[in-house]
């Protein structure tokens, strides 16, 4: 079986990303859980930050990747780029879900509520729904080219929509109740900053690694489909 050069390239380098991610996250976790001090006001709960902030950042980064990838697909129409977009959406959904869950767990001891209509939370929830819609749209379309194009269009529209949602919710919130529960600026001690940076780098590396593996997975799925599909096209009728 002839594999695409792209896949070979991935196979050669993906280990570095995976290893780097494991290293960064391992050290970051250790520092975050053990050596970093608890926050003066929030106590130990501040340690949630070490998983929450990186996943939130990475999910936004993933959405940016999805946006750029979608434009790239509309421009070049390369099925591998489409596979990459599809993979990104799945991983982004995972990261957004993690950010929402950990944020919610953090909000309970800090704000004494599991959920609040804070602009950041709301726009993340919208992002979550958009990504769910994106993946659902992909599963419900039969024509692969249509699927790729429509999904790319949806991703672009959603990306443009996100800041508008954020600002509208912010206006709405300031009107209805003043932002009493806003996130108080956490003064970063260096002992807290180091694990946070390590976790962020590790999370981005993990994203890249996941992206490579997942793109490969989707590519191989299509390849298998095509190989099985040749049964039809090469049979004499």
């Amino acid at each position: 079986m002839i594999l695409n050069r792209f896949i070979r390239w991935l196979g050669r380098y993906e280990g570095w990303f995976g290893g780097g991610a494991a290293l960064c996250i391992g050290i970051g976790l250790y520092m975050g859980l053990v050596t970093s001090p608890p926050d003066y006001y929030q106590g130990e709960v501040v340690r949630i930050m070490y998983v929450h902030v990186p996943s939130a950042k990475t999910s936004l980064f993933a959405y940016l990747v999805l946006f750029i990838g979608s434009i790239w697909y509309l421009w070049k129409r390369d099925p591998v780029i489409d596979n990459m977009c599809h993979a990104t959406a799945g991983i982004a959904l995972f990261y957004v879900g993690t950010a929402l869950l950990t944020g919610s767990i953090w909000a309970k001891p800090t704000w004494n509520t599991w959920w609040t209509w804070d602009p950041r939370l709301t726009s993340f929830a919208i992002l979550f729904l958009t990504l769910v819609g994106y993946l659902m749209l992909r599963t419900f379309l039969d024509d692969k080219e249509k699927e790729a194009t429509f999904a790319a269009i949806l991703a672009i529209i959603g990306f443009i929509d996100l800041p508008i949602v954020y600002f509208s919710v912010e206006w709405w919130r300031t009107l209805h109740q003043p932002m009493s529960m806003s996130v108080r600026g956490i003064s970063f001690a260096p002992e807290m900053l180091t694990p946070l940076i390590l976790m962020s780098i590790g999370s981005s590396l993990l994203f890249s690694y996941m992206l490579m593996v997942r793109t490969q997975m989707l590519y191989l799925e299509r390849l298998l489909e095509a190989k099985q599909g040749r049964l039809l096209s090469e049979t004499r009728l």
Partner: protein
């Protein structure tokens, strides 16, 4: 497939080891006992005791003087003799963890460190809901990739009887 399972077996082993270390550290440095248990055992080494500062019992001396107060649990009370910096969170009717040892002559706890009630419950939940799904997600993807490579290798391109 063998390499794949070896790799993930390694990941699993490392994960279990880290969990055990974490648990050991928790037992050593964070866990605390309620007052009743403390009074039953009266251990000689320093331990952490959880209790509430009884209202009206807090007696701050002057600057640099030791602070005395009574700590209460459910149905038991014990006087505490604290020497050290005056912590801000030492207030009446507040739940605290006192790190100190039992003084049998004076019948009181002598302490040099006062801690807030550790709130690790939320933290560990947050870490679990992040790390476990992440591992499963990654495991699933990698397994699928490994399987797909095998399936593609095994899938024969169809040749009809006639043309063969």
């Amino acid at each position: 497939m063998k390499r794949f399972y070896l790799r993930w077996g390694g990941v699993l082993v490392i994960g279990v080891i880290i969990c055990l270390f974490g648990l050991a550290r928790y037992q050593r440095e964070v866990s605390h006992i309620p007052i009743e248990k403390f009074l039953d055992e009266k251990p000689t080494r320093a331990v952490r005791v959880l209790g509430m500062v009884v209202g009206g019992s807090l007696n701050r001396g002057g600057a640099g003087e030791p602070i005395q107060f009574t700590l209460s649990g459910t149905g038991a009370q014990v006087p505490v003799y604290y020497q050290g910096e005056d912590p801000e969170n030492l207030r009446e009717l507040k739940k605290l963890v006192i790190y100190g040892r039992w003084n049998p002559e004076e019948q009181r706890i002598e302490s040099e460190t006062i801690l807030g009630v550790p709130n690790y419950g939320f933290v560990s939940w947050a870490y679990l809901v992040t790390l476990i799904p992440m591992t499963l997600f990654l495991f699933n993807m990698e397994r699928k990739v490994a399987l797909l490579y095998i399936m593609i290798k095994e899938e024969k391109v169809y040749q009809s009887e006639e043309s063969a």
